[in-house]
């Protein structure tokens, strides 16, 4: 019996060797196309479309938005338009919110003085907690309230699968799974959700690649930092031309995130996670008429309020703690100054400063609080100037030594650095491996340090700063 089996298997493998791999691939393509044309022929005879206008329109739109030539430019243009609307539209309400919230702060201060409350209580509650909250709300709320509904609108239209379709071949070139384009899109909402969505990839190798690189696209928690900083620094507040520049910078950052995702996927699949990409069929669902009312409610409740609440919940105590840290002195320096001073020499190499780096480290639980911690630390560590507008915020940052390079480095670091605590926990749950979880934190951190270091040193070398 055994002999028959071995005769068979040696015959089969000798037949297999007679045909070259290239020839086999050609035959496979020919077989697949024969099956497809046979299916097409039968379907043409048996199924009749009675001019489905909606379907035809969908196909016409798809032919444009997923075409090789226009697909990617349309994608970038759409993102650009959304960000431009966000930045242009957020300026005015941001100013308004800042003005009224800081007018209220003045009233609080008056009240504390009137009742003769001790200075430290006024400091912790008003200058620490309230001011922290006021900044979070006025800087983050308006961009989020515009950006998230617009982004949800695109999702609801059914555009995201088209994005995945456009990116599919790039992921294949990076030896990763085409579905990673989908999990990456998911990461734009939340990296933890993006990591969980990687379950749709069957091959363990490609799933791990998708999990590890998901963090390179900015999530809900990081978009506000990117948008606000770009708005405050690059947009320079107000003028339309500068809003365009600010939007363009954020688009470039997102694009960079995608490029880094692809590059890292490729590197991983060439080194620690070697293998061939598998392929899949992507169904493009029909476009749907978005339900505007539901979008508004869903994006406001699920995203804007959710992110804002997360920020507020952490920002209020963080504000108080930061104020205390900034006003408790060891020797002749405050605790914050000690911490920041200790991180400063390294941070400067990356184009950042000690406080920014500290804010990123303290912001591990949630990316939303990085910016508030930064602002709070500057506010309480330095002169108590009257901060009553976004222009004043810019002045605060500039007074603390910020240049365009600092803003750019901060945005890049935010884009590329380690994932938040929730995401890391999710990665651990999905991979069940401390080793890969540690890798998922250190690999992006290394990337962030490398990129910011290179850019900062390059800028200094060229004398750009």
């Amino acid at each position: 019996m055994g002999t028959l089996n071995s005769t068979l298997s040696s015959l089969l493998s000798s037949i297999n060797q007679e045909i070259s791999a290239k020839e086999q691939q050609k035959i496979r393509d020919s077989i697949v196309s024969s099956i497809y044309s046979c299916a097409e022929e039968i379907a043409r005879k048996a199924a009749h479309h009675q001019t489905d206008r909606k379907f035809e329109l969908d196909q016409k739109i798809d032919n444009i938005v997923t075409s090789r030539v226009f697909g990617i430019p349309i994608m970038l243009a759409l993102l650009g338009v959304i960000l431009w609307l966000t930045i242009t539209g957020a300026n005015y309400p941001s100013q308004l919110l800042a003005n009224s919230l800081f007018w209220l702060e003045g009233q609080f201060t008056n009240f504390f003085m009137m009742v003769g409350a001790p200075d430290w209580l006024h400091g912790v509650l008003v200058l620490g907690m309230y001011r922290g909250l006021a900044w979070v709300v006025s800087v983050m709320l308006p961009p989020m309230a515009i950006f998230f509904p617009l982004f949800t609108l695109l999702e609801d239209l059914g555009y995201l699968p088209r994005v995945a379709f456009n990116l599919d071949r790039y992921f294949k070139k990076a030896c990763a799974h085409g579905k990673q384009a989908l999990t990456m899109c998911m990461g734009f909402g939340c990296n933890a959700a993006g990591v969980i969505s990687c379950r749709i990839i069957e091959s363990p190798r490609e799933r791990l690649i998708a999990v590890l690189t998901n963090v390179f696209v900015p999530c809900n928690g990081r978009f506000p930092i990117l948008i606000s900083l770009s708005m405050i620094f690059i947009g320079g507040l107000g003028a339309t031309a500068s809003s365009t520049a600010a939007a363009a910078v954020v688009v470039l950052l997102v694009l960079l995130g995608v490029v880094v995702t692809l590059l890292m996927s490729w590197l991983l699949s060439k080194t620690v996670l070697k293998g061939e990409p598998s392929f899949f069929t992507l169904e493009l669902p029909p476009y749907r008429k978005p339900q505007v009312g539901r979008i508004l409610i869903r994006s406001l409740l699920d995203r804007t309020i959710f992110v804002l609440m997360r920020a507020i919940v952490v920002a209020a105590p963080a504000g108080a703690i930061t104020w205390i840290l900034a006003n408790t002195y060891i020797g002749d320096l405050s605790i914050i100054a000690h911490l920041a001073g200790w991180l400063d020499p390294f941070a400067v190499l990356l184009g950042l400063d000690g406080i920014i780096l500290m804010a990123f480290i303290l912001g591990l639980p949630a990316n939303e609080i990085v910016l508030p911690i930064m602002i709070m630390s500057y506010l309480s560590a330095g002169a108590m100037l009257e901060l009553d507008s976004l222009t004043a915020l810019r002045t605060l940052l500039v007074d603390n030594g910020w240049t365009w390079l600092t803003a750019l480095s901060t945005m890049l670091f935010s884009l590329l650095h380690f994932p938040c605590g929730t995401t890391l926990l999710t990665i651990y749950k999905e991979t069940k491996s401390l080793k890969w979880t540690a890798f998922a934190a250190l690999m992006p951190l290394g990337t962030a340090i490398l990129v910011t270091f290179a850019i900062a040193q390059f800028a200094v070398l060229l004398g750009l700063v």
């Binding site: 019996m1 028959l4 089996n5 005769t7 068979l8 298997s9 015959l11 089969l12 493998s13 037949i15 297999n16 045909i19 791999a21 086999q24 691939q25 035959i27 496979r28 020919s30 077989i31 697949v32 024969s34 099956i35 497809y36 046979c38 299916a39 097409e40 039968i42 379907a43 043409r44 005879k45 048996a46 199924a47 009749h48 479309h49 009675q50 001019t51 489905d52 909606k54 379907f55 069957e202 091959s203 598998s278 392929f279 899949f280 069929t281 169904e283």
Partner: protein
Amino acid sequence: MKATDKSCCTEAYEAFGLKLSQNQLVVALAGNPNTGKSTVFNALTGLKQHTGNWPGKTVLRAEGTFVHRNKKILLVDLPGTYSLLATSADEQVARDFLVLGRPHAVIVVADATCLERNLNLVLQVMEITAKVVVCVNLMDEAARRSIKVDIEVLSRELGVPCIPTVARDGKGLTELKDAVLDVATGVTATSPRQVSYEPHVEQAAARIESRIRPYLPGWVNHRWLALRLLEGDMSIIKAIIDHLGNGSEQLLLQEGSAVWAR
């Protein structure tokens, strides 16, 4: 090979972790994802279901039983796939069961709203086995999108019974069960449409077919296997050799010698 050569035996199913009671017919349920395959499965088997994994795979398997016209039928739900090219674990599981599990009949669930894509799988299944019934599901959805599927033309073109259904509302299921039983018991003879390949592929396949014929049991479709060899798909070759090597040797002895005797 004639369809009668494909009669099954208990050992073939044990390799797939299936326990068969006497006189039970095995029917596989294949189909693209999102065609309502699970709805068809639930509608046919009701509460008599059992879930587990395919042996050695992390792919979920559901099986259920139902009785139709006093015949006991074991329905095995295959993973939803677009093809049987075996590039994913799902496709491999589906293909291996169709080839090695030798079900008495296969239902391929097709989505009436995008027939063309679904027919790719139907054609590929019909290359492995002739005992196919196509369940053209989501007929209501197709009507809503003003797509008219001519079932008679489809059946004639494919050479196997095609049954229109709306599984969600339970429409067409009795007809489906009738057709499946008739195909499984040989009452209905099918003549599945074979894909014709480019001449050089056909010739090469015929050459390989004649070389492997003496060494293979009758229940493997030789033309299909020759095509897989041509495209260098060694995974099915390995699966067949493994299958022959473990527990089913006797089978090969009987059928193999029967082939030799010719």
